[in-house]
């Protein structure tokens, strides 16, 4: 069996499953956020009754992260709906914006977008919070009301996005009926050359198989190339399985996975036992291809879809109005450090927005010193508009006052993961997806730029 099949077999109490089988799986973690949480809670109450209790308090994780730093009153209300539910159900894992459990969230626009407006529990983007706070474990089943839930596949688990109705069902029962997907294998050999990042790998692959090339399928990553990658790199790749239509992305377990997960569960006191799934000698794939990482070059997904691939070096004539670094995919500390490597000592030429994925990324960028200056200050000094308000921000547009949102038609190069029309705001704006290196190099020149000119 493939990694995905092994996990689904275990979670459904079966010795063997095959693609196409419909199985009821036991859920290890259900995650929801401010955009889909209120609707999920609504479904749960409508279907199980006003006084119903969730199936297992320790398995529900609620992370407000999407529309937080906006004066939109409906958005602020939605965070309050989450808090009310958490109080009523006594849920232990809620990363609230404010510290007062009986308070109301209200964003104060007069204080601006850059300075932090959150309490001590707030974390930021859900998919980056889950591993940090010790909620991702090898061999487990994670569902989330968000399509990029597949990011946790980096940790050798089955993770995928679902809608409110399915999530409401899980809240009441702890189970979900799912179809076992076919598995596609992506076998990575060699090492990435300087200037190339994990983001280029996934953009290359999606360009190869097409924006719907993995529809209903699992994307399994194997090969020596995988083991040379950091957990952050694996997260970037697993995150974008959905951009090829994939049901999930999944990585093998190795020492890096084990160390990362053990540190996080210890730090947070979350469940510490886990049982990874190993790669079987006998697996059947619907697609199997080897990629030589050393041959990859900085890659861009052009407007209007993530499969519209071109090499950065061929896009020099695309003029840009804006650059953006942030999101679950591209807003991790390692992403900002790569970005800062290129930006350091220079000035950006176009409006450039930096949105750390989590509050921990904010802290790490302020702590990391290069030549006696923090990386945060280096970026600000280069003209990057850095906000302490870690969240999804303009990655998905959001309310009109969202930081970095495009409210007029313009061209933006972005370290995020999705570029369908209107994704980052105005429906006539155009988004080009690229690695943090490429976004940085392009921010310096004002047109799409191969970062190898700047990275040695």
């Amino acid at each position: 069996m493939t990694l995905t099949e092994k996990i689904l077999a275990r979670a459904s109490g079966k010795a063997h499953v095959a693609p196409g089988d419909n199985v009821w799986v036991n859920v290890d973690i259900l995650m929801t956020h401010d955009v889909c949480g209120p609707g999920t809670i609504g479904v749960f109450k409508r279907e199980f009754g006003k006084t119903a209790k969730v199936w297992d308090k320790s398995k529900v994780v609620i992370i407000p992260d999407h529309y937080i730093f906006t004066a939109d009153s409906m958005s602020n209300r939605n965070v309050d709906i989450l808090r009310d539910f958490v109080n009523e159900q006594e849920l232990p894992y809620f990363y609230d914006v404010i510290d007062d459990p009986n308070g109301h969230w209200h964003f104060d626009a007069s204080r601006g977008q850059l300075k932090k407006q959150y309490g001590s529990h707030f974390t930021g983007v859900c998919h980056t919070t889950l591993p940090w706070k010790g909620h991702t474990r090898p061999g487990e089943i994670l569902f989330g009301t968000d399509s990029h839930t597949c990011m946790a596949g980096a940790f050798n688990q089955f993770a995928t996005g679902i809608g409110n109705t399915d999530a409401g069902f899980i809240l009441g029962t702890g189970k979900l009926l799912i179809k076992v997907p076919e598995t596609m294998r992506f076998y990575l050999e060699g090492e990435m050359s300087p200037g190339v990042m994990a983001k280029d790998v996934i953009l290359h692959v999606i360009g190869d198989i097409g924006f719907d090339g993995a529809t209903y399928r699992a994307m399994q990553w194997e090969g020596l190339g995988v083991h040379t990658m950091s957990m952050d790199d694996r997260m970037t790749i697993a995150n974008m399985a959905i951009e090829a239509g994939g049901k999930n992305g999944i990585f093998p377990y190795d020492e890096k996975t084990g160390d990362y997960v053990r540190d996080r569960v210890r730090e947070n006191g979350t469940k510490s036992e886990f049982e990874p799934v190993e790669v079987d000698a006998e697996q059947s794939f619907i697609y199997d291809k080897t990629f030589d990482l050393s041959k990859l070059e900085p890659t861009v997904a052009m407007h209007p879809d993530p499969g519209n691939r071109e090499l950065a070096k061929n896009l020099g004539d695309v003029k840009l109005d804006r650059a953006y670094i942030g999101s679950c995919t591209g807003g991790k500390t390692s992403d900002f450090l790569a970005f800062a490597e290129v930006i350091r000592g220079k000035s950006v030429k176009i409006d450039t927005f930096g949105v750390p994925a989590t509050t921990k990324v904010v802290a790490e960028l302020k702590e990391t010193q290069w030549d006696g200056k923090s990386v945060w200050d280096i970026l600000e000094g280069a003209g990057v508009r850095m906000t302490e308000n870690a969240s999804c921000a303009a990655c998905l547009g959001g309310p009109v006052d969202t930081f970095g949102r495009m409210n007029t038609p313009m061209n933006c190069i972005s370290a995020t993961n999705r570029n369908f029309p209107g994704r980052m705001g105005h429906k006539e704006s155009r988004v080009f997806l690229a690695s943090p290196y490429t976004v940085a190099a392009s921010a310096l020149t004002g047109h799409i730029t191969d970062p190898r000119e700047f990275v040695s």
């Binding site: 889909c36 479904v43 109705t165 069902f169 239509g245 049901k247 369908f420 994704r423």
Partner: protein, 182 residues
Amino acid sequence: MSHTLTSKVFVVHDNIDTDQIIPAQYLTLVPTISEEYEKLGSYALIGLPDDKYPVDLVEPGRTKTDYQIVIAGRNFGCGSSREHAPIALGAAGVQAVVAESFARIFFRNCVATGELYPYDSNERLCDIVKTGDEATLDFDHDTLTVNGQTYPLKPLGEVRPVIDAGGIFNYARKSGMIPAQS
């Protein structure tokens, strides 16, 4: 439910993602609150680029559409997992989407909510049919008839009874998987 549906069709092309079906700024609306459900309907497909789609699915100022069947190309509903997408279409009065292919989560959300019938077509109908053409969808024979031609659709199979029942909860209760509501 009647076994055939006759309506004008609304035609879109490939990769209509959830941001075009219901743009992110409207996700503050909570679908289980009934006034907000109606509002979601009024915004269905409002994210389509105006130059390519001069006609609106739902006329400004209204909450219901004249087009109960949407015809689409490949990968309809790709992008986010937001259930607001099938719900917005369903709330607007769309009953079926006939597409060359669907994105996985959208398809699943159609079934889970029972809002819409997501039919796969064998043919690329979005190149043959125009917005405003009148079509008849035959749920018993899995066909779409439009402009005098009858096109076979892929039968919905095991998900059909779930949508007929009005979504997974009704279906699960009917089949005894979860207890009936008290």
